[in-house]
Symmetry: C2
DNA sequence: GAATCCATGTAAGCTGTTACATGATTGC
DNA sequence: GCAATCATGTAACAGCTTACATGGATTC
């Protein structure tokens, strides 16, 4: 299980409330790990009981008070230990692939709209990633001060993960084009 | 949930026992959907109760008897209905990406071995896919009878899913190379 | 007046994993 | 003799999803 660890990473990058974490898991962190707020609150409680995180009550004006969580020493140690533990390459679950193979026993062309929808979703996601990259990681001018600046591990590692997301979306778009071409070979209306 | 549907697709491709299904979920189907035998037995029982599959006792010599499952009309209808239902692009859970971003708060170079291990696993998987493709989907000679043969939906769709697996592994290998280059930028011993 | 945002939670149910259990046959 | 393969299951637990619940502040 890595939800605890994903939360630790997110809180190390920036402390925040359960609500804020839930939003991050719907955005930046959500690109490679999703979680609902119910899950996050439950896990945060356990992490607090285990001494992995510290809590601070933050009163607010015009808004409900919030509990701001930050990583405690025990949490840092737990993350470090997990980082040094090998994990198995994760098992894939790809509904769309099940559907595509299943389409052989139904009408293959009926799947075209569905695949097009997914392709569009991946295009949107790619555009979103590329915009984020342009905003947060502009290419440094060669020879400029920035190009020679010492490497900031946090930034560089965030960037390489983002590049992974970009590569994934591009691969998916290309593959879904391939799928559409294959499906078109059976139709129309066949 | 798509485990039921993955089982339906697998049984349509070829009827078999729970044990055989479990093996398929560790091989061909397992490339995009995994399941353990415990899960499969439980779901098969439910599918049988719901009338989605038929069972036939098959006595065997020198081996325990087995129950051979095949798809019933209700199962076929359930699959068809699922195929026509739109599904949301699935949420991703990528442990390694969590680790990579987490490495910023630990020793980034300690992750190199782990990433290399994963890269090797993806290389092995790619080699396996390519061997399967060469075996099951040899390129037809242009102008040959095979090249003009009517399209076999089951085969073509299996092939396009396999091509997706190949594209995925290639993407992952390239990305993990990128990750390694990034990690190397912080070391050695830094 | 309705919808959305901020903020936190409970409860029920389903899915999935891990461990345990049995028992015959085949290959080393 | 030991391990692996074939074959099917039970039980306990952990993880995740969906639905429900509350309540003030802001925006349309």
């Amino acid at each position: 299980m890595a939800l605890e660890h994903a939360i630790l990473v997110s809180l190390l990058e920036k402390p925040g409330s359960g609500y804020e974490l839930a939003r991050r898991f719907g955005r930046s962190i959500g690109y490679f790990w999703t979680a609902t707020h119910q899950q996050i609150y439950r896990v945060l409680k356990r992490m607090q009981d285990d001494g992995w995180v510290d809590v601070r009550d933050v009163p607010q004006q015009g808004r409900p008070d919030k509990k701001e969580y930050s990583v405690a020493d025990l949490g840092r140690a737990a993350l470090s230990s997990w980082l040094h533990d090998p994990i198995e390459p994760e098992s894939v679950r790809h509904d769309l692939a099940v559907k595509i193979r299943g389409a052989a026993f139904d009408d293959p062309t009926a799947l075209i709209h569905e695949v097009e929808r997914h392709r569009q979703a991946h295009r949107d996601q790619l555009a979103h990633y590329l915009a984020g990259q342009a905003r947060d990681f502009p290419a440094p001018e060669p020879g400029s001060a920035a190009a020679q600046a010492p490497l900031d591990a946090e930034r560089e590692l965030q960037h390489v993960v983002l590049r992974g997301g970009i590569a994934y979306e591009r691969m998916m778009i290309d593959w879904l084009d391939d799928v559409l071409a294959t499906l078109a070979g059976f139709g129309p209306g066949r």
